[in-house]
């Protein structure tokens, strides 16, 4: 029997609130399946199962906030015998006159005529604590053999005081505050900026999009991410984590893409293995991630998997930004708003579409010299968009 635990979705997370189950008891569960949605300081996050088997039973109710590591559900692993969770409630053996009205004090539920109530122990406990007589609920059990489960009791409870209200924005602000304070206190940042000619990149995007339907079009953002991913292959000291006093380079290149959330806050979930994606696949990933973030749905691992962050101000921003590294990462690339500027092209000043790339990096891990080469490598890749 395996337990499905409240995961730790970041070093600063102490507890999470269960807001939705995505599987029902009796459902088959494969490793990687999304099992539940958990509200954390970073917003609503879908949580995956790490075991294969059958979802046996919910252990906590929706709306409940529990510490990291708390079992939330039982998963019966393939081959295990089904545990008979459904036990007969402790009742006197004699047929007792069932009270006509619901008892005001919790009493053991007597047996109905000839048939036993099928109810899980946890559900019975909940029913008793709420003063609900399970026999009055009828055939609403959704557990094994129609047993009443926690969720059934919860659903049958006449609109209880709603669970502790969660204000995700306050949590989001607090999460950003914690991470950024830690970053500024611990990480000796250094900053570099480099102006890049985007003429070739923009022409490539325009040309590519000219005959494409809107849902197949590229944005410059896909080119930035790919150029960064390619440059990181050579400049691996910007891709990884600083923890326990040393730098561990990451083998995968998973740039986190900073996505603003309307109403405040932002998250930077990872685009996995970005170097292997062609521009269309990159664009599909961007659309998918941004769409899910805005719908409040992204996976826990997508946040912790990021090995560097890329943040772009988009088309209606300002010239440059100086990022704050998201610990335990060691670098953040900023992309300013593209705008036409006088730019030297082969000795002649022309009006070119340009952007300013910035790098904030951890001086414990790298030096400005390498940082400069890294930014120039990104620039070089952006000059040959057809090769990205």
């Amino acid at each position: 029997m395996g337990q499905f635990l409240m995961p730790s979705l970041g070093a600063d997370m102490e507890a999470g609130t269960l807001i939705e189950w995505l599987k029902e008891p009796g459902d088959a569960v494969a490793s990687g399946d999304l099992l539940a949605v958990v509200e954390t300081q970073k917003g609503a996050i879908e949580v995956e199962a790490f075991e294969e088997g059958t979802l046996e039973e919910y252990l906590i109710e929706i709306g409940k906030k529990v510490p990291v590591g708390t079992p939330m559900a039982m998963i019966r692993v393939e081959g295990e015998v089904e545990v008979k969770k459904v036990t007969e409630p402790e009742v006197p053996k004699q047929e007792t006159a069932a009270p006509e009205s619901a008892p005001t004090t919790p009493t053991p539920a007597p047996r109905p005529k000839g048939d036993r109530i099928r109810i899980t122990p946890a559900a019975l406990q909940l029913a008793q604590s709420k003063g609900i007589d399970p026999r009055t609920l009828g055939d609403i059990g959704t557990g094994p053999d129609g047993a009443l489960t926690l969720a059934d009791i919860e659903a049958a409870t006449p609109s209880p005081a709603s669970p502790t209200p969660v204000n995700p924005m306050d949590g989001m602000r607090a999460a950003i505050a914690a991470a950024m304070s830690r970053s500024k206190a611990e990480i000796p940042h250094y900053y570099l900026a480099h102006t890049v000619d985007l003429t070739a990149a923009q022409a490539f995007v325009d040309h590519t999009n000219a005959n494409r339907a809107p849902d197949e079009r590229l944005l410059l953002g896909a080119l930035y991410l790919k150029a960064v991913a390619k440059a990181l292959r050579k400049y691996s000291e910007f891709n990884g984590y600083f923890s326990d006093g040393s730098f561990q380079p990451a083998s995968a290149i998973n740039p986190g893409m900073a996505i603003t959330i309307r109403g405040g806050g932002l998250v930077a979930p990872a685009i996995l293995d970005a170097e292997s994606l062609d521009l269309d696949a990159m664009m599909a990933s961007i659309r998918d991630l941004a769409g899910r973030v805005r719908a409040g749905r992204f996976r826990a691992t997508e946040l912790s998997d990021a090995t560097i962050t890329v943040t772009s101000l988009g088309e209606r921003g300002v010239d440059q930004l100086f990022g704050v590294i998201y610990p335990p990462q060691v670098a953040i690339i900023g992309v300013g708003t593209p705008r036409p500027q006088p730019f030297d092209v082969n000795g002649e000043v022309q009006s070119c579409l340009t952007t300013t790339l910035t790098l904030a990096a951890d001086h414990r891990v790298s030096d400005g010299h390498r940082g400069a080469l890294f930014l120039r490598a990104i620039d070089k890749h952006l000059q040959k968009p057809e090769k990205l």
Partner: protein, 79 residues
């Protein structure tokens, strides 16, 4: 209100539910008024193109600058 305007309002509300259409300047930059980025705008164009069965070429983006410009562009495409 024309059907096209109802559609445009609905798609904008889906992307920017926090912005009241009555409170924006309909002649100002649509993206700034609704605080939408290039991906939001692309999603808007995608949705409108699908709903109206119009190609919405990128070369026409300049004609979709403000709410009013977008509306007259769409109206022109549907009549």
């Amino acid at each position: 209100m024309t059907e096209t305007e109802i559609l445009l309002r609905a798609e904008l509300r889906r992307i920017a539910p926090d912005i009241e259409i009555e409170e924006i300047d309909r002649d100002e930059d649509l993206r700034e008024e609704f605080d939408i980025d290039s991906l939001d705008f692309l999603n808007l164009v995608t949705a409108l193109g699908k709903a109206l069965n119009a190609p919405m070429p990128e070369a026409d983006y300049a004609k979709m600058g403000s709410f009013n410009e977008m509306l007259s562009y769409l109206t022109q495409k549907t009549t």
